[in-house]
Symmetry: C2
Subunit: 209 residues, 2 copies
């Protein structure tokens, strides 16, 4: 099994389950709130947008906003929990024959598949994050948390501490590079493919003397 | 030439030059301020320590403090500029025969050598940073900046964009893992050796199928 062969079709079910679970109170309220928030952040800037304005644009009450999100920043970062569950779940479920790098590459390609399905929202979100230093720092903290979660998932497969950390951190590095080259390029290949190509490139980079 | 053979002796001269340059106004004032700041941050906490208290402990005026540092946080992060110069300089000066990964590994080992010389101060600093969420976020931002500088230095060697970014980000990942395993372990090997061993491990991780 090679990095390029990772099968990620299974992940779609996880994403669908998640959307159903979060939407049980009000069909689509969460999705509408996210869309409204990203529109307003883009139009007015993150600082100038209130939770009340987001609720109004989404056609729900402010109380509904706060049932879904603790504050307006959480609209941008709630997805981190989904990414973490996806990563950890995919590493846990990788075949026993998968190497630590293969398990990691498969997990990151699964996250890429989720993002590819939400391409326009992801792109809108990134414009907002890039424009705000505090959000950029929070994004780095999110990546650090995902690296730690990935390390833990590899450790749970019996991978030694140093190897687990190195594989996880290198995996996150690959993800960041692949994501950056994808997010602002309308002609980019699909993100899971960009991720896989970046893992292949990492192997080339580290094997060359 | 392999990653394990990188010669870093040349770097000592850079470090010495730096210390001379920064200390030209008042011999050792900067070093005493740094030592005093780290002691006070450790004793009282970062929040509870003022620039005035740092100056007093160092036996200099508050004005001298502000001639060296914009604020107390800068005492902890001024070293980032030195690290950046070291990284960029070492990549630029790596032999033409060095691969992108070798040039990166040599540069990161050079940073490791500088830190090894300042082991106790680096350890004290890390305790302060780890204890404070805002400082931890700033530390992540520093690492991101160093990754970008390393990418630029590789690009200047004619390395393609994707390869440069992947190599730089993977290099920073290796550094973080090596640093973490070294900083809190009194029995750790010297940091440049830990860095080199971690690059060897990265190669093993990425070459295994």
């Amino acid at each position: 099994m090679s990095v390029a062969d990772i099968n990620i079709a299974r992940m779609s079910a996880t994403v669908i389950t998640y959307h159903l679970r979060m939407g049980r109170w009000e069909p689509n309220a969460r999705g509408r709130l996210e869309q409204a928030a990203l529109e307003l952040f883009g139009e007015r800037g993150f600082e100038q947008t209130t939770a009340a304005a987001i609720a109004e644009r989404a056609g729900v009450t402010e109380r509904t906003f706060f049932r879904h999100y603790a504050d307006k920043r959480e609209v941008l970062f709630a997805g981190a929990l989904v990414m973490k569950d996806l990563l950890v779940g995919a590493v846990a479920e990788a075949p026993a024959s998968a190497s630590p790098l293969e398990a990691t590459a498969g997990a990151i390609a699964a996250v890429g598949a989720m993002m590819q399905q939400r391409r326009e929202l992801v792109r809108q979100r990134q414009v907002v994050v890039d424009a705000n230093p505090e959000l950029r720092e929070r994004e780095l903290a999110k990546m650090s948390t995902l690296g730690a979660a990935l390390t833990g998932a590899l450790r749970d497969r019996g991978v030694g501490e140093l190897t687990a950390r190195l594989t996880a951190e290198a995996g996150i590095a690959v993800f960041r590079v692949a994501f950056d080259s994808w997010v602002n390029d309308p002609d980019a290949a699909e993100l899971p493919d960009v991720v896989r190509a970046s893992f292949v490139e990492l192997k080339a980079v580290t094997s060359g003397e």
